[in-house]
Amino acid sequence: MSETRPLAASGRRWPRDVIGLAAIALAGGAGYVLFPDSLAFLTRIISIALLVLSLDLLIGYCGIATLGQSALYGAGAYAAGIAAVNGLTDPVALIAVGALAGGVAGLLMGAVLLRAHGLPQLVLSIAFVQLFHEMANKAASITGGSDGLYGIAPGPLFGLFAFDLYGKTAFFAGLGLLLLVFAALSFVVRSPFGMTCRGIKEDPLRIRAMGIGVRPTLIKMFALSGAVAGMGGALGAIATQVVGLDSVSFELSANALVMLVLGGFGSLYGALIGTVIFLGVEHEVSAINPFHWMTLVGVMLIAVVLFAPRGLYGVMTDAVARWRGRP
């Protein structure tokens, strides 16, 4: 039996949040010092981490299984990219455009997905991302189609820090964005809204009997999740200065799910840990042979499902609890 504790226990949690944010900042700083030549890769990790966090909001906090999350990420990436190509260069404004586009796509996706349950819902999510993919491919005059969207040239951040060749500005901008989003989400998941969502995950009928509408609440979460994913997409567009069709794909959606599960869903930290480990190992192994990488991911997934259903973060917290519980 795992330890259970009250969800929103008390106001004494804020030091934990500060420690958590400090740990993320520290990990980011360590990445900067240890891998100064891989800043573009580290920024990609941050961008994808936002996608995985957004997926965690739906799966981990509301219990909605989706294999189409990258539709929201891609919506943010393309919106920011198209805005940039058309003359909007302020990076903060581009992130905001990404958040908005992701949020709107999230609303749309929620409206579609919540019409069904179970397998049909899963299928709808896949069809949704595939439809976005086909649209992005077809509207090549705006999106660049399969060639990708080029010509994104963001201006200096806050008018001061230009985006450099080494990706320093992009990396620190990304890290700052991640910290902001993480802090905001830590607050949101413990708001009344966050509590209601956890309730819906466990028993929607009980939530309804409390007089709370399930559908409007979930739609709201879809919009929020979309905004987070959209910011991730926009960050990716700004950092790499290109948007490809792979940012709206079933593969990216499935990979995001795998990352979340490896890390452990239902916890914001799990989402981050899963992303870092997945992308880190992929970076090393897939360079050798992409099929070995697929086999490895498959084995990891099966192992997590059978032996550590709460993911690596769950394994870690259990270990800590056991260590503390020792006499």
């Binding site: 009250p6 009344p192 809204f193 309730g199 466990e202 009997a209 007089g211």
Partner: protein
């Protein structure tokens, strides 16, 4: 004059099976009515029709003079038509305090606010503590529901219902599955319910029905076969038929 709550000619069938046949019933403030009947009589279906989880094939439900037949279950709860569940439906990782707090927040229209901290409003915390203490749950208020006794979970079901400030309360077997040592606590909780609240109690435990209800409605085969005082029910031939029919028949054959 008009009833607070009234159902008229409610009918429902699944496939060819009629589970509710032309049921009419009304409640005025302060009513304590028990709905009883053998297994399969259609009690839970009736509750689901009344609360809006199911749509009736025909008939109407009125609440406070308004036709609520087409309203969703959520809308009915917000109007004050509240139920508890026969099998406890609670969130295993949340505490009783969190359940009641969330419910009060909903009543105030704040249950889905994002920019607000949960459990940091003194007025709401005070009210939640008050409700929990009324039901004797103060000691376990901050422990996850998964760790508290089943009897206490049943009391929490009632606490959530009370936090909604209901005008009509449907209690679906509040003592089901509770060890007999703990039933007095549930009975005491029922005895303390506000006197202007109309209560419909669905119950198997006849002792509880006799002590609590001033009127008994007996359901059999989806239709009401008896309405009247609890004492009269036991002597009524239709009630005996409802409960003993098959046995009486069997003994005659044997």
């Amino acid at each position: 004059m008009s009833a607070l709550f009234r159902i008229e000619h409610l009918s429902k069938q699944f496939g060819g099976l009629k589970v509710t046949r032309d049921v009419s019933l009304d409640l005025v403030p302060g009513d304590r009515v028990a709905l009883i009947g053998p297994n399969g009589a259609g009690k839970t279906t009736l509750v689901n029709l009344v609360t809006g989880q199911l749509r009736p094939d025909s008939g109407q439900v009125f609440f406070g003079g308004e036709d609520v037949t087409r309203l969703s279950d959520v809308a009915r709860v917000r109007k004050g038509l509240v139920r508890t569940f026969q099998v406890t439906r609670l969130f295993s990782e949340m505490t009783p305090d969190e359940h009641v707090t969330l419910t009060i927040l909903q009543r105030k229209g704040r249950a889905t606010r994002i920019l607000e901290r949960f459990g940091h409003d003194p007025a709401i915390e005070f009210e939640a503590a008050d409700i929990l203490s009324t039901l004797g749950l103060t000691e376990v208020a901050h422990r996850p529901v998964a760790e508290i006794a089943y009897g206490q979970q049943r009391l929490l079901e009632i606490a959530i219902a009370l936090a909604l400030r209901p005008r009509v309360l449907l209690l679906d077997e509040p003592a089901a599955g509770v060890p007999s040592s703990e039933t007095p606590r549930i009975e005491a909780a029922l005895a303390r319910l506000s006197s202007d609240l109309a209560v419909l109690l669905i119950e198997h435990d006849m002792d509880l029905v006799f002590r609590f209800a001033r009127k008994v409605v007996v359901l059999n085969g989806g239709e009401i076969v008896f309405t009247g005082a609890p004492d009269a029910a036991a002597a009524d031939p239709r009630v005996r038929e409802a409960y003993l029919g098959s046995y009486a028949h069997a003994s005659r054959v044997a």
